[in-house]
Amino acid sequence: MLVLIARRLLIVLPMLLVMSFLVFTLVELFPGDACLVKHEKSGNQEVIDACRVEHHLEGPFFERYFAFLGRASDGDFGDAMFKNESVAELIGSKLPATIELSLFALLIAFVLGTWIGTRSALKPGSWFDALGQIVSMAGVSIPVFWLGMMVMSLFAGEGDWFEVGAWGPEKIGPGIDYSTAFLMTESLVRLEFGAFLTALKYIVLPAFTLATIPLATITRMTRSSVLEEASKDYVTTARAKGLSERRVIRHHVRRNALIPVVTITGLQLGVLLSGAVLTERVFSWPGLGTEMVEAAGMRDYPVIMGCMLFFVIVFVVVNLIVDVLYLWIDPRMRTAAD
């Protein structure tokens, strides 16, 4: 199994390399010039040239790409052009919010989706099944940003329980000295339940909104997977042994049926991150997506590049984890891959 993981890791590195080149090239091709925009008023050519040198925009393409790679491997992604921050700091403060939002949404979708899917499969054709199918159809058809707006105008008025907007350490837990930007997780780990509850007030609406996207796929997948498993011989045997229906479903059917669902859940991450960009925008969530869209509008090259790269890295790493998880859940895969 270790060999398998090592092999997967070996594929990831060149892939990241190719993707970093692609990202670099794309950003290079963006029209407009942030240095010109930034120093437009002064109109001083020397200032503009100095800005171009400072942000590594002068010189031959490949030379700059390799210099960029060298700096990036040291964790230096340059400085933001319109903010007084380095890109690494910026990403360090924004990425955690995106990760917490995405994972929380994925958790909601997984719990709800497997529950709805299992119940639907056990009584195909029932009203619950019909409801489940409507929910999953709606999940892939309703624009997530619009759903967010509707949810917001319904549940986030004045005097409502939920909070909307950018959370921050001072809003979540005044007086707590957070050492990371994973505000919700850190509040929970530090057993600061008041702060955790406040964090929940902020995250619940965007997370449920975002969850509708993977929820659809997970529900569908669970339903068909449970249906397939339930018709197998070992399930009949389990029933024949006189096991309670509850036990048959929980211990026999569900375990096997969830294997493909786990894979699907992992693969949903790409869609989820895409949805996260839109959801963040609607809920003014202080994450990487909001940052990237703003930077793209201003042509803030270092920031766009950093954000794109980190979206890619998160995506690739999670896919790697899913692959490993898959080997761990389903022993058959191990022998098949050896």
Partner: protein, 283 residues
């Protein structure tokens, strides 16, 4: 062929979801065709009108007006044209590149296959919106064109993979072996014999792709990467309406979003229905 078409039609007619899907798609197509009959133009405002817009729905403006004094109902109708054009054009672009790519990959195999499939893998390793935002930013113009290209390109991998899988399967069929033994050129075999037999899954993927393309395009437009803010486009209308979210002006938010949802739902239901009709195993 005609018998087959009749068979498919019969299967769709029996499938409630597919019928609803077809109805919704026809409804939106009808909206697009009827747009010139709308009460007002997409960017019409009365120059003598001094009232404070946006105004709530009234007998004059069925769905109210937006901040420029434009009639929301009329813009909703006009917007269906842009949405359909965007979705269809994006998928046409994805098909134009994805089909030859997948077909060559599947039919030629070897190095060609490896090269195309690795390219597809790399594209799939980007969260689609990240790639789409980057591509849309490449354009200087503020219009639907960047959006069409971005969404189209992002859709290539799905199409290419589906076509490759179908071609791989069709390639081993007897009629292909027969065509080869008759000395036909590979290009002729691929385009005259193999591809026509792969049409069914391509149609399904394309139909579902149109829904997805309209949804993604609306998202990109909402982010402000597409046409300017006064364009009669559903995503753009939502972007403009979003500024009024706290003031309860629901007519700026509900109609445009519902229109997107209904359109996408239509294509998704129709696509699912087609899949069931074309692939008897999925029934």
């Amino acid at each position: 062929m005609r018998e087959r078409a009749a068979d498919i039609w019969k299967s769709i007619r029996r499938d409630r979801g597919a019928v609803i899907g077809l109805f919704l798609v026809l409804l939106v197509a009808g909206m697009a065709l009827a747009a010139p009959l709308a009460p007002y133009g997409p960017k019409y405002s009365d120059p003598d009108d001094m009232r404070d817009h946006p105004l709530p729905p009234s007998s004059e403006n069925w769905l109210g007006t937006d901040k420029d004094g434009f009639d929301v109902f009329s813009r909703l109708l006009w917007g269906s044209q842009l949405s359909l054009i965007t979705g269809l054009a994006a998928i046409a672009l994805a098909l134009a590149i994805g089909v030859p790519m997948g077909a060559l990959s599947g039919y030629a195999g070897g190095k060609v296959d490896s090269f195309f499939m690795r390219s597809v893998d790399i594209m799939l390793a980007f969260p689609s919106i990240v790639l789409a935002i980057a591509i849309a930013t490449l354009f200087k113009v503020q219009s639907v064109l960047p959006i069409i290209v971005a969404v189209g390109v992002v859709n290539i991998p799905t199409i290419a993979r589906q076509v490759r899988a179908s071609v791989l399967q069709a390639k081993t069929q007897e009629y292909v072996v027969a065509a080869r033994s008759m000395g036909f050129s590979p290009v002729r075999i691929l385009f005259r014999h193999v591809l026509p037999n792969c049409m069914a899954p391509i149609i399904v993927v394309a139909t579902l792709g149109i829904g997805w393309a309209i949804l993604s395009a609306a998202g990109l437009n909402f982010l402000g990467l597409g046409p300017p803010e006064d364009e009669a486009e559903w995503g753009v209308m939502l972007q403009a309406g979003f500024k009024y979210i706290d003031s309860g002006k629901q007519w700026l938010l509900v109609p445009a979003g519902a229109a997107i949802a209904v359109t996408v739902l239509g294509f998704n239901l129709l696509g699912d229905g087609l899949r069931k009709a074309l692939d008897p195993r999925a029934r």
